[in-house]
Amino acid sequence: MAWFKKTKEIKPEKKVKIPEGLWVKCDNCKEIIYKKEIEKNLQVCPKCNYHFRIAVAERINILADEGSFVELYADIATTNPLNFKDTIAYKDRLAENKKKSGINEAAVYGSAAINNRPVILAIMDFTFMGGSMGSVVGEKIARAAEKALEEKIPLITVSSSGGARMQEGMFSLMQMAKVSAAIAKLKEADVLYISIVADPTFGGVTASFAMLGDVIIAEPKSLIGFAGPRVIEQTIKQQLPENFQKAEFLLEHGMIDMVVERKDLKNTVYKLIEHFMPREEEKGM
């Protein structure tokens, strides 16, 4: 009985106990890799180049000059306007996610330097409630854009989100309009906005600031889209094409400017800044 044998073969493999802390299994190639090796490699699989999802702190290390990041308004919090309760109350879920992620909300922003060029940097963390955008994330992105406008320095965002945060209802949906209006002001003032899109980015974040970058950069193989693949599959009852909603697919369809490996992100962003907003002394005669 082939099917039986097959499941028998697959199941135990999935349950291989990997000693906590020392080894990790790559989500993509399934190879078991020495954790230190991945860490040294910016959380990218050395075997298959898969880019693991990373936390805000790691993202700051990769993009900003050492010690340059100063977080702003870290303690903006939601007032829980819907008093939403699913399996647990929303405020308990928030507390749980704070503990799990070590950050206060799904986005962090502040001032930073990239090879000595000052920027405003806003970063989302998927581990905090799936990177969902509620009032706090919306407010932070809007303030980040306003700060970049005020100081006339580039805004860099790193997205990773499942979309709008259901637990804050229409307040969450309206954040899409809010952040897009804030980005509009940046554009009118010709302040550079670079949007880096990391795995995964969907829904209200893609359909607002993530797709509004003057330059849009994605990490290899990141899943990026409006509707989630499962929703699409259920709606159209068809199999999705190979590579669907991967960064490379978006590049092919003209939706992003480039796919850049993590190790090259900082330098790419730096070069863009140097081109678009040269330092005073370097401006053409």
């Binding site: 259901m166 209802g169 229409m170 939706m255």
Partner: protein, 323 residues
């Protein structure tokens, strides 16, 4: 035959009986008029009672009622000399969004709205009111056209959401919505938006950035459908029931009353007893009155003030502890 929602079933029985009596007394010497009058009063009371205390889920059902007037119905009833404008000039024409120019109470303006279909064939043609990127790009094109000729813009919102399809993703559904949100924030003419039925998430929002946002009394506006919300929260427990949808609809705070209290919408446009579909003409007239009244104020503002106030209105939405 009128279409009755589940909670209206006792009303259906009563109204069927009234119809029967009317048929009986027609061309007959038996005078049933007093009985009919009595039953009609009873039906009216029953309807008042049902509609005075609708649950959010019931409201969702009314918002999606198959006989509820759609954008093109309102255009027929309240827009004079309407000329539909087609196409996004890039890829195609999306039948899920209708756009054009016409006069409301004597003023020429752009009118843009989601269009659901009535009957199987038209529903499929209209993609059940779920736009593709072309729809949003067409809407923006027409808004920018109106801007150049200093015409106000009216949008009518009625969609389950933007279409989740392969082509929609390939052609940039997210980019189309995002660009609308950004560009509409700085359009130099007044924009009045009215949710006439279903305000389904980002697909609805893309047309509802406005100087005034109104909702018809029994319409709904939500970040996710109650079904979608219930599926995320409770699918693990097995099959979903109507109770789950009802619970989700409660939790999402998607009614006009909730959204007015949250200051997310500016006002509620009252519907005739039993819903907009009972008296479409009355509803259309009321919508036109709200539009005209809003424009009276908005058209006196300078462009700079209009845009500044629109920005502030959008910018302040959120529920946070200020620090």
């Amino acid at each position: 035959m009128a279409y009755y929602l589940d909670f209206e079933k006792p009303l259906e029985e009563l109204e069927t009986k009234i119809e029967e009596l009317k048929r009986l007394s027609d061309g007959n010497e038996i005078d049933l008029s007093s009985e009919i009058r009595q039953l009609e009063k009873k039906a009216k009371d029953m309807r008042s009672e049902f509609f005075s205390d609708l649950t959010p889920w019931q409201k969702t059902m009314i918002a999606r009622h198959p006989e509820r007037p759609y954008t093109l119905d309102y255009i027929t009833m309240m827009v004079e000399d309407f000329l539909e404008l087609h196409g996004d000039r890039r890829f195609g024409d999306d039948p899920a969004i209708v756009s054009g120019i016409g006069k409301i109470n004597g003023i020429s303006m752009a009118v843009i709205g989601h269009q659901k279909g009535r009957g199987t064939k038209e529903r499929i043609f209209r993609n059940f009111g779920q736009p593709n990127p072309e729809g949003y790009r067409k809407a923006l094109r027409v808004m920018k056209l109106a801007e150049r000729f200093k015409m106000p813009v009216v949008t009518l919102i009625d969609t389950p959401g933007a279409f989740p399809g392969i082509g929609a993703e390939e052609r940039g559904q997210a980019e189309a919505i995002a660009t609308n949100l950004m560009e509409v924030s700085k359009i130099k003419v007044p924009i009045v938006s009215i949710v006439i039925g279903e305000g389904g998430s980002g697909g609805a929002l893309a047309l509802s950035v406005a100087d005034r946002l109104y909702m018809l009394e029994h319409s709904v506006y939500s970040v996710i459908s109650p079904e979608g919300c219930a599926a995320i929260l409770w699918r693990k427990n097995g099959e979903l029931s109507l109770d789950d949808f009802s619970r989700a609809a409660d939790a999402l705070k998607l009614t006009t009353q909730d959204l007015k209290a949250f200051k997310i919408i500016d006002d509620i446009i009252p519907e005739p007893l039993g819903g907009a579909h009972r008296e479409p003409e009355t509803t259309a007239k009321r919508i036109a009155e709200y539009i005209t009244k809003a424009l009276e104020t908005l058209r006196t503002k300078s462009t700079a003030k209009l845009i500044e106030e629109r920005y502030k209105k959008i910018r302040k939405i959120g529920s946070i502890t200020q620090t």
